[in-house]
Amino acid sequence: MAFGRFLAAAAALVVAAGGSFWYLTIPERYDPLDLPAHEPDLANGELLFWAGGCTSCHAAPGAKGEARLLLVGGVALETPFGRFNVPNITPDPDSGIGGWTMAEFVTAMRYGTSPAGRHYYPAFPYTSYARMTVTDVMDLKAWLDTLPAEPSIVPDHELAFPYNFRRGLGLWKLLNLDPAPVVDVGADPELERGRYLTEGPGHCGECHTPRDVTGGLELKHWLAGAPAPDGKGRIPNITSGPDGLADWSTGDIAYALESGFKPDYDTLGSTMAEVQANLAKLPASDREAIAAYLKATPPLLEAAGRTIRPFRTYRGENLRKAFPGLLSFHEPIRAAVIGASGGIGRAFTENLVADPAVRAVLATSRQGAVPEDERIQALRLDLEDEASIEAAAASANDRLGGLDLVVVATGILHGQGISPEKSYRQLDPAAMARVLALNTIGPALVAKHFLPLLPREGRCILAALSARVGSIGDNALGGWHSYRASKAALNMLIRNFAIEQARRNDQSIIVGLHPGTVASDLSAPFQGGVPAGRLFTPEHAASRLLATLDALTPEDSGGIFAYDGERLPY
């Protein structure tokens, strides 16, 4: 009996859930009576036609000249969700939209709903067109009606499950269809016009903004660049930030949209060439308004846009394969290398600069001199001078607003009056203090000033070069007292900091790294006993250590890891 009632209740719940799904996903529509009385303005309709670049997708593939006004469709858009075949929008009553009422057209453009009452896929960028005014949409329809009619046959979209289930788009629209403007530009009429053209009919954000796994635009990365929709290359950042158009004047942007020439007089390429050809047909004041708007956008960082790329791990055998770059971060990485002028530090810096997932690298050294590159920012940092560490951290915060990856790549074993002791009889307090100052206290102070720069949520890593010889459990040979002691102390601090930092961000990772024996100044006098094939170049060591870091999870925090991913005993 009780079970029967349970069944009834469960059935009611299922019906209710189904009912609310059904209700929430009803396609929205305009009633003809909702439309304002409006005498269509054909000139404005044509302007919007070029601003929207309708012809870029709706003309036949490869159409040139007059054929670009024949909107027979047929272009195939390849996306991670499947292939979208662009429809005919000529005035042809059967294949095209000639039979549509004005209300049906406005419904399609602003609500993404077809005359038959079905949801359109957002490959048709109605999330942008929803920001157009109703009268502008009406003007556009009036202009489209003046274009030549032509029948054509376009195949259906070819989509994988579950994307072939259109009703689900109702939920997608609840999340993503919002006609509100994205950027607050105040009340300046030129900026408002630029915003209208860019966010609305121009639908620039559809390519220049990255998408989440559902295909919705990530507005927090608005215009900050994204992988190309077809997966080949990237669409650039066009915000006012340093990854974007910071170096372009408003005049440069307007001229590029008019002529196709960038400020360096290279040409705008790829899909932008066609967009530019369309925008060249706008009045100069509209291109200037778009330029002014872009210069007024928040200066966002390049978004890595890696959400669709699979995670990979590099433990064991996989580690031997070439390291393609850091894949475990979801945001563009702001990295710092402390000690970037040493052998491994330089290699870390070069590796990170070459990694497309990395947005910027702060490279510190005692002299402040590091390799030149537009993505490297050189800073002076002396491990024996806390003020310089604090100043470098403050500078990192000012320049990048925080850090996601900090690598401390310093260490001393010999030199400057120091040589590793073979016996306790050789202990020299001054030399010992110096080794501890550089190998233990210095990295600890870096942690003191740089850990607060790591984010409070999401993945972040601080890694310091330790060494296997710093392991007490692994110590069978003895000797090298100061060096071993300094690294053992560092390992303890790493473990301590990991515990402390996990309270601030449970995704944070703080680890020590054993690079193996690397052909660098540090190991130069001691390379004789290294087996063939085990003396690494700094480049090899750095890429293996980065691959090791990439495979770590927060559970690994506090540990000491070797170049091959092996966790070492303390």
Binding site: K232, G233, F261, Y265
Partner: protein, 147 residues
């Protein structure tokens, strides 16, 4: 004459000469393309009004385009498909006839612009426009996008 203008002209001359100084076809064609970039910069800055119009400079820029248009096709030999970060598409070699035709169309536009000897900014704009169109249409077909 302003120092910027003199520097721009000097850049034109230097890149044009350097273009023929390298033995490597990829480097050579890249330098020729850069000489057109320099000519484009001078032209564009005059068109944008950032530099005063100067007839001699304008004609020198057009002559640079013409000279480059008649030479760069020689520097895409078989075997130069890769190296020096070249962005040349394979279509240059698989569709040689199309590439040559595009080059000839460009050379025609550039030599016609030189022959027009534009004497004022409006005439220069008119002469330059067909050159600019060729840059983009050819890059679209025969060069991979930068990112």
């Amino acid at each position: 004459m302003s120092p910027r203008l003199i520097a721009a002209i000097a850049a034109l001359g230097i890149t044009a000469i350097a273009g023929f100084a390298s033995a490597d076809p990829i480097e050579t064609r890249q330098t020729i393309m850069k000489s057109m970039g320099a000519a484009g910069k001078v032209s564009g800055e005059m068109i944008k009004g950032n530099l005063p119009f100067n007839q001699d400079v304008a004609n020198l820029a057009l002559a640079t385009f013409a000279a480059a248009s008649l030479s760069y096709r020689e520097f895409f030999p078989e075997g130069s498909q890769a190296g020096h970060d070249t962005r040349a598409k394979d279509t240059i070699w698989t569709d040689r006839a199309g590439f040559i035709a595009a080059n000839e169309k460009f050379a025609e536009a550039a030599t016609a612009a030189v022959a027009a000897k534009p004497a004022d900014l409006d005439a220069f704009k008119a002469a330059f426009a067909p050159i600019g169109e060729n840059c983009q249409s050819c890059h679209e077909t025969y060069r991979t996008p930068s990112s």
